[in-house]
């Protein structure tokens, strides 16, 4: 039985980061994520780590990439406006295949929007916020327990697949407190050290596997990383064959491992004829709706992605074939519903309910909507 | 009159920018088909200005008695 603790989402993320081995944080104040920075400003110096508040989010993103290249685990945390500023350097981390973790505590958008209210309006920005083709991993907790556990999982995935990972939470889950149980032992994954000597080391050599090891600075491996298209040596190359091979490997290292990465919660779906598709704080509401409707005799369940990206297409299709109707519920004006329609639309009816006014959508509204749609056909 | 200095020009790296020729106080060098060429090595006084003025590491001046093991291009790899 691990230690029990009443703690907020933001503080849970900060403490879990330390537990995961994070020893560098660079960030910039922004509601509703600042508490992550504040807590790490206290903790990191106690763990021989470094906390720095940079001059803006762009700088924060640059700093954590630099820190990660020295072999250390590095974190930044922000919200919508800051997340938008970080996109270019996040793209650099994708191109350079540099493991970092970025917490995006979603608030109402767009623009300054609703700083102290939740939203789920960055879902597609997380996936496509950068120019160019890329894959990204994004985890979506719906509780403080998951905020703790998914932070560790985010670092593990970043190290394992040599990629940035987004921990996508929101104002509700980051600010509220819940009692959590701090797991006794947790699996900590560290990046692989190169098995070849420096003179044979190439930072982007995919010949032995989709994820080439990233040598830490200061260990005799002097290599080059650039945002330019590059070859296995890391030096610039615009040779079409090389460009295609490198980009395909960077995409495939996530696509081909999606079965290990993607995770969903399947709630009361075994005998369900209907299902709600919801994530994050809205999944908490949807779970209540599911229980209430079950009591009214409606065989409904909830499919909740724990990993928003890569998208849970296979898991969704598997259920879509057996379901009469899927209801997508999200705090925006229609974002993830596009992906659900894309995969499930071939097999079943997909409906959407949502809005973005900074308030969680109450269970009653969702129940009425679902019952009305069920009775229609 | 034996040359006191050996001047070596790396024709692959020289881009014919003419700076070494402009600055050589003894007109030891000349530009020929867009490359620096040593025309009167005997006049070289070993001031190394040409080395300092070359943007492309393309010229090296060494004293004759200096047995400098000029590293081949590969020795310096990693």
């Amino acid at each position: 039985m691990g230690q029990r603790k009443l703690i907020s989402g933001n503080h849970a993320i900060a403490e879990a980061a330390i537990r995961a081995g994070c020893r560098f944080f660079a960030g910039y104040p922004i509601t509703p994520s600042s508490e992550i920075a504040e807590r790490l400003a206290e903790l990191l110096p106690q763990y021989d780590g470094i906390f720095i508040q940079m001059e803006d989010e762009i700088a924060s993103m640059g700093a954590i990439i630099g820190a990660s290249l020295t072999g250390k685990k590095a974190l930044t945390a922000t919200s919508g406006p800051g997340f938008s500023l970080k996109q270019e350097n996040l793209g650099f981390a994708i191109m350079g295949e540099i493991p970092v973790v970025i917490v995006n505590v979603q608030r109402g958008g767009p623009s300054t929007g609703l700083p102290t209210f939740p939203g789920q309006q960055d879902l597609m920005q997380v996936r496509w916020g950068r120019h160019g083709d890329q894959e990204i991993i994004a985890l979506v907790p719906d509780s403080i327990q998951e905020s703790y556990e998914f932070t560790i999982k985010a670092f593990n995935l970043a190290e394992q697949y040599r990629t940035p990972v987004i921990l996508l939470t929101d104002e509700v889950i980051s600010q509220m407190k819940e009692q959590i149980e701090i797991p006794d032992d947790v699996e900590i994954i560290d990046r692989e050290f190169p098995s070849v000597p420096p003179e044979e080391y190439y930072p982007f050599d995919g010949s032995k596997g989709l994820v080439p090891p990233l040598a830490p600075y200061g260990e005799g491996y002097r290599y080059h990383i650039t945002g330019l298209a590059h070859d296995k040596t890391g030096f610039p190359s615009s040779n079409p064959k090389v460009v295609r091979e490198q980009l395909e490997r960077k995409l495939n290292k996530i696509r081909k491992n999606r079965d290990e990465i993607v995770d969903v919660e399947e709630f009361l779906l075994e005998d369900a004829e209907y299902a709600i598709f919801a994530l994050g704080s809205m999944a908490r509401v949807a779970k209540q709706v599911t229980l209430d409707l079950r009591e009214e005799g409606i065989p409904i369940g909830l499919l909740r992605p724990l990993t928003l990206w890569p998208f849970c297409d296979k898991e969704l299709i598997n259920y879509a074939k057996k379901l009469k109707h899927i209801f997508v519920v999200e705090m925006n004006f229609g974002q993830i519903v596009g992906e659900v329609e894309r995969y499930a639309g071939k097999y079943t009816k997909v409906d959407w309910y949502g809005r973005a006014d900074g308030r969680l959508i109450p269970p009653r509204e969702i129940k009425d909507f679902i019952k009305e749609r069920i009775h229609e056909n | 009159m034996k040359n006191k200095f050996i001047i070596k020009i790396n024709e692959k790296w020289c881009k014919g920018c003419n700076l070494c020729i402009e600055f050589c106080p003894k007109n030891v060098l000349e530009l020929k088909d867009a490359k620096a060429k040593v025309v009167s090595p005997e006049d070289c006084i070993g001031c190394y200005i040409c080395e300092y003025r070359c943007p492309d590491f393309a010229i090296e001046v060494n004293k004759v008695e200096e047995e400098v093991p000029v590293g081949s291009e590969k020795t310096n790899k990693r």
Binding site: G2, I50, I58, A59, G218 | N18
Partner: protein, 292 residues
């Protein structure tokens, strides 16, 4: 003998450089490499970070840890490296636009923080890579592809900017002051704190061609000689005479506590009995000493 010194730190197989014939960047690179040679710094202890532009291609030629980042962001990337590798010599090489336009915010904050990074600015007053657009250090009245009628703005004085922001080593030199520049860069690297070296250099193919200097490097170099004035000489020149001139020399060389040392001291003081990774209890709620 001088080229031989620089070759020690070169990635020979990457030469010749991609810079145009007569570009000044190669002169700054060779000076930089001789500075490393002078200090006899171990390659494995050096990180060289650059932004985007012709200057951005510098690290590719240098056999140290090299990182070619995004436009204007070399310094933040370098900051992350320095904070995690205090024993490293971290160099940020930037163009004038890279450093003082898009990168301006990072430049002044690094100076304010006094983080131990050496910033070398390849200041040719133009955006060369993209074809000769006007930059924050393009002289008033000079022509550029985006200032076809002459630049109407006054340029930044990168030295004043660095001094005002608190950098503790600030100097300016030019590609005409080699080998003096070698020593200056070595001093900057050795200095523990944020060092700025503004190096006036040339871009014959864009700046030169549009400003009656042509593509001849010698003409462009004479222009550098005209617009730079050694500090000693500048002392007895009037403000009028100094208009449009860049003063060279060391403007500040001051030892002040630098950021990473302060961090390391703090960490030592707070040395927490390391909670080993798989420890049972979570992270104690350690309040600051003054709190009850």
């Amino acid at each position: 003998m001088k080229t031989e010194l620089a070759k020690k730190y070169l990635r020979l197989e990457k030469l010749p450089t991609l810079w145009c014939s007569g570009c000044g960047h190669g002169l700054i690179l060779s000076s930089l490499l001789r500075a490393l040679y002078l200090l006899n710094i171990e390659k494995d202890k050096v990180a060289m970070v650059s932004g985007i532009g012709c200057s951005g291609r510098t690290p590719g030629y240098v056999d140290v840890h090299t990182l070619h980042t995004t436009h204007g962001r070399a310094i933040p990337f370098a900051t992350g490296i320095k904070l995690m590798k205090p024993e490293f010599y971290v160099l940020a090489v930037m163009g004038d636009g890279d450093c003082a336009a898009i990168g301006g915010n990072h430049f002044i904050h690094a100076a304010r923080r006094n983080i131990d990074i050496t910033a070398i600015v390849y200041n040719n007053g133009i955006y060369g890579m993209t074809g000769g657009q006007v930059s924050p250090t393009t002289p008033y009245g000079a022509y550029a592809s985006t200032a076809p009628y002459g630049q109407l703005e006054e340029p930044f004085d990168i030295v004043e900017l660095a001094l005002g922001a608190g950098a503790t080593f600030v100097a300016r030199s030019s590609i005409d002051e080699i080998p003096k520049l070698d020593r200056l860069i070595a001093d900057g690297i050795k200095h523990k704190g944020f060092s700025v070296i503004d190096v006036i250099t040339i871009c014959p193919i864009t700046f030169g061609r549009r400003n009656k200097l042509g593509e001849d490097p010698m003409m462009n170099l004479r222009w550098v000689q005209d617009i730079t004035v050694p500090m000693k000489k500048a002392k007895d020149m009037s403000k009028e005479e100094l208009k449009g001139k860049w003063i060279t020399g060391i403007f500040r060389d001051e030892d002040k506590p630098n950021l990473i040392d302060l961090y390391l001291e703090l960490n030592k003081k707070l040395k927490h009995s390391m909670v080993d990774e798989s420890s049972k209890e979570g992270v104690e709620d350690v309040r600051r000493q003054d709190e009850t």
